[in-house]
Symmetry: none
Subunit: 228 residues, 2 copies
DNA sequence: TGGGTGCTTCGGTTATCATCGAACCATGAA
DNA sequence: TTCATGGTTCGATGATAACCGAAGCACCCA
């Protein structure tokens, strides 16, 4: 018949509303149990279990057993990236799940995208580094300069440790609300963690929102200024 | 209930095998008719029509009427990009379709379409001019820039003379074999004539084939380069 | 004006699959 | 062992939607 990758299978996985809700819930980067995801998607555990096994055999999910629980996460950054790009297209087409509620501005300002910072501040972070030549290269393929490494070192981020991990350090991700690139990869994860360690920001429970304290916001602006 | 873009709808669109086949067929950048896509997907034209209207109302497709035909293309580059990223993920997950049959003969290189150049080279001509901003506007409605006029003047084509004719100077046409836009109108005619005057090409008798000499082919490539 | 073609609409059939109740399995605690 | 909890498997049901035949519409050409 035809050659090439089979996107229909992936589409079908994402196409079911219950499964889509679960995947989006996992975009928070947190590992969730079957029961949590069931309530997230508004279905029973039996149904959720069936969906989870399908998603797993399609290679979209990973599960980790821990005691009596089974924790599910997205399989890898690739999956998160594809979901993000789908959300971008849907947003631009005006395909929204519901009326944009009060949480929406907060989501656009700062939220977690799988494991890194997204939204307004995520975009600002990335472009600030580029404008000051702490990053070189294109928006999709870039690297740290020596000045960039020094800057991150000052912030308390051990870049050489990141480089010893298996994941790519420098990776970008397209933001669905801003429609611009923000920082992903091991570096993106490390920076978000560092912000929270420094007390600049914390996660709002049961949501993707990242809440910056006034002090944290100020510190962020100082560290990542943008021209214009 | 939930906030954020609705990826389930997009997923469902892509999730049906017939629709996925159609979308992948359109990834060639070519415009296809409903009948062609039906046979491509192995379904009847009625069913294809239903799918096409769904895809269109989801904002994934655009249609363009020309004569008795309706040519469908992907809505924009965004859609192609998302499909590409899905194909990437599917490929990495080992989700493949099966092999394709043999392709059509090589009449597609260069031929005459009424009075202008069509086929591979015709498409290249048009897109080369657009890529270098010698033409501005959409694929269906465009005009020459000043740089474009100068460029044509250098080639020995008198644009102002063309403008005194009654026919529209700038017109595009959908290519029979490539299914992408190529140059038509008075300008298309004039350019083909000029190529033959310059000795780059000649008509093969009793056929629509335009035969480029080695030298002519080289000159053509130099005058109308394309990225990709 | 009539005939041919490309495409859409309508109706009815069929098949897939999401869903949940109930039973079953596994782990941990008492 | 027994009980409790988290999760999967099984079976039946119901809703959705893909599918095609037939009819209708739009456009082109002679």
């Amino acid at each position: 018949m035809k050659e090439g990758p089979d996107i229909a299978l992936l589409g079908a996985m994402i196409g079911d509303p219950a499964r889509a809700n679960m995947l989006i819930a996992l975009m928070s980067g947190k590992a969730l149990t079957a029961t949590e995801m069931a309530s997230e998607a508004g279905i029973t555990v039996q149904t959720a279990s069936s969906h989870l096994s399908k998603l797993e055999s399609a290679g979209l999910l990973q599960q980790r057993k821990q005691g009596r629980h089974r924790y599910f996460t997205l399989a890898d950054d690739d999956v998160a990236e594809v979901l993000e790009s789908l959300m971008g297209l849907a947003a631009r087409r005006g395909l929204m799940r519901t009326r944009t509620g009060p949480k929406d501005p907060a989501l656009r300002h700062a939220r977690v995208c799988y494991n890194h910072l997204a939204g307004d501040l995520g975009v600002q972070l990335f472009h600030s580094l580029r404008q000051r030549d702490l990053l070189v290269g294109s928006e999709t393929d870039f690297a740290l300069t020596d000045a960039g490494r020094a800057f991150l070192d000052d912030m308390g981020i051990d870049v050489s440790a990141l480089e010893r991990e298996r994941r790519p350090v420098c990776k970008s991700c397209l933001d669905w609300s801003e429609r611009r690139t923000h920082m992903a990869g091991a570096l993106g994860t490390a920076m978000l963690e560092r912000f929270m360690d420094l007390g600049w920001a914390r996660r709002v429970p049961k949501s993707r929102v990242i809440s910056f304290s006034p002090k944290g916001q100020k510190a962020f602006e100082e560290h990542f200024p943008t021209i214009n």
